[in-house]
Symmetry: C2
Subunit: 362 residues, 2 copies
């Protein structure tokens, strides 16, 4: 039922598992700031936009929530708890206390995600039936019309794969010099952008089948304001510099560095609106930047680097092997430490965006 | 929603995880024989007993199957595939090809089960949406009326815990000499039997809430014919002997051996019927011994011991620690090797029973 996707499995980039010093579980405080900031908006969104009046009560019980790209916690537990409480509040506000449904929560991530750790850290006092769903959210994961609320925080920034042109030496989009489209050639940017559009179409079409009509989808993602250009050095340039340096010293092969690209994409608001509108199954109910305290905070170098390692360590390890990962991050840390520009949160161009989509009626 | 159960978590006895030489995945060929033997009966049961006519098509789509106590495969995949094909056949036989539902399969086991390995070995060509559900099946695991078919193979032989009397030095049911009720005192047998009745009542009541009315539950379990007595030495006596021997040599503490009991129960047919009838939510649609080739086969000593270790290793390790596990099984193997009585399959009193229950209407 994962249809044709099973033969062409999207590449998987799980966050670092377990509970160790480099784990995502221990190093996702920025993401937690975003999830916390979204709490009030989700409350309001559910209060205003969830039509429990028009959906029959039967079909809303159990109320099924999915968190896509859940990683190993703890942010996923906070996010689903916020949603659950908002739904309960809505029922209470309408005097429907006795109709509050049971909740079933589907935690989704790649098949290689550390679900054992996720299960071990499930909140013991949870008021929902917990379930794990392995697989890429760029394909179908759930039966038709079986979900009421989908949540995803920062996961759809990860493309399903690196656009093939950027690693094709014969393509004008070959990305030899850099490891990302930011500050790269126009052709590289276009290849990434095309991959993003294709992935989002797959994502939205799969969700359109899985959500009930009237069902909601809350996405938290990094975006950039329309028309933003990057003229200065960014984090990924520094990482590329370190890898190139290691290739020069013979610590990694040059070909390996040439073929390495980060499968991350940060759309503009306009770009995001365009993919949703082109897909056609969802209305945009709300779209706004999240302001949260973490955004303005000058984080310590250590916090930044641990957080980067938890997020990027897996991709780097998969490409280069685990032996060199410490060396890469030692060099990367030194490089970032030298850049007061990068460490200053005011120079960050990305915006943390909250977007609420509603599945239109067929 | 695991309600009060979360505070008094049933003890967990996962089968040995991973894919290594001692894993359950590599050492469950006997159980596979049983699953294979059940295929035809399940086919027939679904053909005759699943009322797709009376259940509305809407509520049967998706068709939700749960395997309780799934361990890490591969038997669970074979079992659910058999059920899925039987349901498809039923639709086809009734000329309802175009109504064949989507399938969602819930793989359940203890929270400490190795779900990462389970996910990694999911059949790539599966025609269902796969989901994992962590937790004890002696409590609620699923929302109300959300399942159509429940399957469980050999898992409900494991009690939720050791009856407390058998480890209470002041109780007449204190089981100092043995590690199981077979061949033990009447009081020990009664304590086990009472625990079994209590556990089955919890199991059936939880499933009664989770299955739709008319939903089916197929249980494969080891049972004994009514009135069976054990007069000769059995496998567990040999294991007890080895542990006692190790205590005498100072390799484990005597108190540890005294307090060790196996949480396994093998009911008689009568006892099983009684718990189902007392519970009242299910009708017994079918109950018959499974004959399968593995039953009559004289298995090699190695196969028997690997299979015992995959099943019992976890409980022993949890109680005694992992350091002594090799020593225990070395001694146990030597002891079993000496007993031609135990190695002869004709002396096995247990029967592999198939029982089909149907959720009555409220």
């Amino acid at each position: 039922m994962e249809d044709k996707k099973t033969n062409i499995l999207p590449e998987s980039y799980p966050m670092t598992g377990g509970n160790g010093p480099h784990s995502y579980a221990q190093n996702s405080c920025y993401q937690k700031g975003v999830v916390d900031a979204a709490k009030e908006i989700i409350n309001e969104a559910i209060a205003k936009k969830l039509d429990i009046e028009n959906l029959s009560f039967v079909s809303l019980n159990p109320f099924r929530i999915a968190d896509l790209g859940c990683s190993v916690g703890p942010n996923t537990f906070i996010a689903v708890q916020n949603i659950l409480e908002a739904v309960e509040l809505k029922y209470q506000a309408q005097g429907l206390n006795s109709c509050i449904p049971e909740f079933q929560v589907f935690f989704n991530d790649h098949i290689t995600n550390d679900f054992n750790t996720l299960f071990a850290s499930l909140p013991p006092d949870r008021k929902y039936f917990a379930v794990a769903v392995p697989g890429s959210f760029y394909g179908r994961l759930f039966p038709k019309a079986s979900l009421h609320f989908v949540h995803s925080s920062y996961a759809i920034s990860w493309l399903s794969k690196i656009p093939k042109e950027v690693v094709d030496i014969n393509s004008p989009a070959w990305n030899k010099e850099r490891i990302h489209y930011i500050n790269a050639t126009k052709e590289v940017g276009e290849a990434y952008s095309a991959q993003y559009a294709k992935d989002m179409e797959s994502f939205l079409s799969a969700r359109a089948q899985e959500l009930v009509c009237g069902g909601l989808m809350a996405l938290l993602i990094a975006t950039i304001p329309n028309g933003t250009t990057y003229s200065t050095v960014n984090m990924f340039d520094l990482l590329a510099y370190c890898l190139r340096e290691m290739a020069n010293m013979g610590l990694v092969s040059e070909a390996k560095v040439d073929s390495f690209n980060l499968p991350l994409y940060i759309p503009s608001h306009k770009e995001l609106e365009t993919v949703v509108e082109r897909n056609g199954y969802f209305s945009i109910e709300r779209m706004e930047p999240l302001s949260h305290p973490m955004r303005q905070t000058t984080l310590s170098l250590q916090t930044i680097m641990l957080s980067l390692r938890a997020a990027l360590g897996g991709v780097i390890e998969e490409h280069f092997g685990s032996e060199i990962i410490d060396e890469v991050f030692d060099r990367f840390t030194n490089k970032v430490a030298e850049s007061s520009f990068i460490l200053n949160p005011e120079n960050r161009k990305e915006i943390d965006l909250f977007i609420l989509l509603k599945r239109k009626s067929d």
